[in-house]
Amino acid sequence: MVEVIIDEDACVGCGSCVEDCPNDVYEMDEAKNKTKVVKEEDCMACLSCHEICPAQAMEHRDIHVAKRLYIDRKVNYALERII
């Protein structure tokens, strides 16, 4: 089963993930002004929330990670040498 972890220190409480998730996996915790996971079992790992999160505050575990053949391996190689 998919496990979604929110980094509460990183979350800025913008609510973008709450609005974007088609399956209402997230809700705003009004007291903390942070996102909380409420329906983890309905997460289909589309990762729209990852893309929209300005703080990169979430992590999805045990998901099928789609192939990323669009990434240029030569660019990766160059990056590895720089970083």
């Binding site: 309905d42 289909m44 790992a45 589309c46 893309e51 099928h64 053949l69 669009y70």
Partner: protein
């Protein structure tokens, strides 16, 4: 300036080499894939620029034709589960999909009047990768290629009318609803 000279492909060509040898290595395949992705992206955006919303219909029709052609060799069936499995084989690993349902829903397949719907979660998709390679938004004309492909394959295998709707698109997976009308042929 002189033309670029390629020396590592100098060799002897014999007809019997085909199809055993392809020439090139993995890096060449990668280069070819990326060039094709860029071509496809350019074609898609140009088509949209020229034809507007009509671009979707053109690409859909192309995909549908591909779907019919691909599924011609497949075993015909009335069984949706079997048809979905067969189509998975036809679409191959580059279009890996699974049935999906919300946790609260009992069954993957919903029967309503003369319609059957099933939600499909497309995990690996070459179309999505092409769009990301070229920086184009999802749900555009190129997505209609897969749309048409699915519809064409379903129609060919089940000999029924089908349609696919995009529910949600994401960078890692896209949710689509496949609808089949039992009464329509």
């Amino acid at each position: 300036m002189d033309m670029r000279e390629i020396t590592d492909t100098i060799g002897t060509f014999k007809p019997e080499l085909i199809p055993k040898e392809t020439g090139g290595n993995l890096d060449d395949y990668e280069d070819a894939l990326h060039v094709l992705m860029k071509f496809m992206g350019s074609m898609s955006s140009a088509l949209e620029q020229v034809s507007g919303r009509g671009a979707n219909a053109i690409v859909y029709q192309a995909g549908k034709r591909m779907g019919h052609e691909s599924a011609k060799m497949m075993e015909k069936t009335d069984d949706l589960e079997k048809a979905l499995f067969e189509m998975g084989e036809v679409l191959g690993h580059e279009f890996y999909y699974v049935k999906w349902k919300p946790a609260a829903q009992d069954s993957y397949v919903i029967q309503k009047d003369n319609e059957v719907t099933v939600k499909l979660l497309f995990m690996d998709c070459v179309v999505r990768q092409t769009l990301r390679r070229t920086g184009l938004p999802q749900k555009g004309p190129l997505c209609y290629l897969l749309y048409g492909y699915m519809v064409g394959a379903v129609e060919e295998v089940m000999d029924l009318k089908a349609k696919v709707d995009i529910d949600h698109v994401g960078p890692n997976a896209c949710l689509k609803t496949l609808t089949i009308k039992w009464s329509a042929k």
